[in-house]
């Protein structure tokens, strides 16, 4: 499976995401020559026909000015991503990418400044949610995984009725482990999916938990999920 990783002016974690996609593919043995190597997708590109999945990476697109993700969502590439998603293509938004997906309406909710207003960067634990998503096929619901948290605007918010809907539709992909909610997110929500499950976003950084030297490899399965779901491969 070939990934495309979006790059906006101000993106930061796009190379990390690229690296994670590569490692995931290699680990599944699905690295079929250079044709399937993950690639960066410049924000002005509109042709996504060569990729099977999209990562909207973390960072500070457009400096996070105005509101995190507010400007990036207008890019031509995001229009293409919306079509890609509507056609059922797998889309993963990480941190700033999650914010962009929420701003563009591909995911429900919004992300507000952390309750303590500071940027935080620490290793933490997530509980995998009940959501039905190809991205979660490498995890068990209820599984506890260790993934770094790093962000300043990661407080998940949705108005009561929307929140209720997200919960009752089982759209919660990840929750912060009890006592570890770093930002005041409602219901400890760290990540959600769209109704169909093919679009997922989360604030923590799975791409920083794919190599042993980083202290955890629990993020790898997320990048392998769609391939596992598609082929029935085992991670």
């Amino acid at each position: 499976m070939k990934w495309g990783v979006l790059q906006f002016p101000g993106s930061c974690d796009e190379r990390d995401a690229l690296n994670a996609c590569q490692i995931a593919a290699t680990a599944l043995g699905s690295e079929g020559g250079s044709g399937s190597l993950p690639r960066l997708v410049w924000h002005e590109e509109t042709d996504l026909s060569d990729v099977d999945g999209i990562v909207v990476p973390g960072g500070f697109s457009y400096g996070d000015y105005l509101r995190a993700g507010a400007i990036a969502r207008f890019s031509p590439a995001m229009t293409a991503v919306a079509e890609f998603a509507a056609a059922g293509g797998p889309v993963l938004g990480i941190c700033n990418g999650f914010q962009v997906l929420c701003e563009s309406g591909l995911l429900p909710g919004a992300l507000l400044t952390n309750e303590k207003t500071r940027f935080i960067c620490r290793q933490g634990e997530l509980i995998v949610g009940e959501a039905q998503s190809p991205f979660l096929s490498g995890y068990e619901a209820g599984q506890r995984i260790s993934i770094p948290f790093k962000h300043q605007s990661g407080r998940f918010f949705a108005p009561a009725d929307l929140l209720e809907e997200i919960e009752s539709n089982n759209q919660v992909a990840f929750r912060y482990a009890p006592g570890q909610n770093p930002n005041g997110s409602l219901n400890d929500i760290a990540g959600v999916t769209n109704e169909a499950g093919n679009v997922i976003g989360l604030m923590p950084h799975p791409e920083h938990a794919v190599e042993a030297f980083a202290g955890s490899t629990d993020g790898l399965a997320l990048f392998q999920g769609p391939a596992i779901a598609a082929t029935g491969a085992v991670a």
Binding site: A70, L112, T113, N114, E115, R155, L162
Partner: protein
């Protein structure tokens, strides 16, 4: 040219972390009798016409899920 001023505020009922931080700092700095601090954004700009302003606010300047906005045009 129209000079416009857009005020964008966190919606009622949403915890305003910045506002809360300011309220928290007040007593230590010797300020009393100040309450309900809310912090928002102000965007000032010049536009050809008012047509686009509404759209600009809806689509870009404010996120309707979490923010309210108000447009004040200073001169026409």
């Amino acid at each position: 040219m129209i000079q416009a001023r857009v005020l964008i505020r966190p919606k009622e009922g949403i915890l305003d972390a910045q506002g809360k931080a300011v309220e928290g700092a007040l007593p230590a700095l010797g300020f009393s009798g100040i309450e309900h601090v809310r912090i928002g954004r102000i965007v000032e700009l010049e536009a050809d016409s008012t047509d686009q302003l509404e759209e600009l606010c809806e689509k870009l300047l404010a996120n309707p899920l979490i923010e309210d906005y108000e447009i004040e045009t200073v001169s026409g």
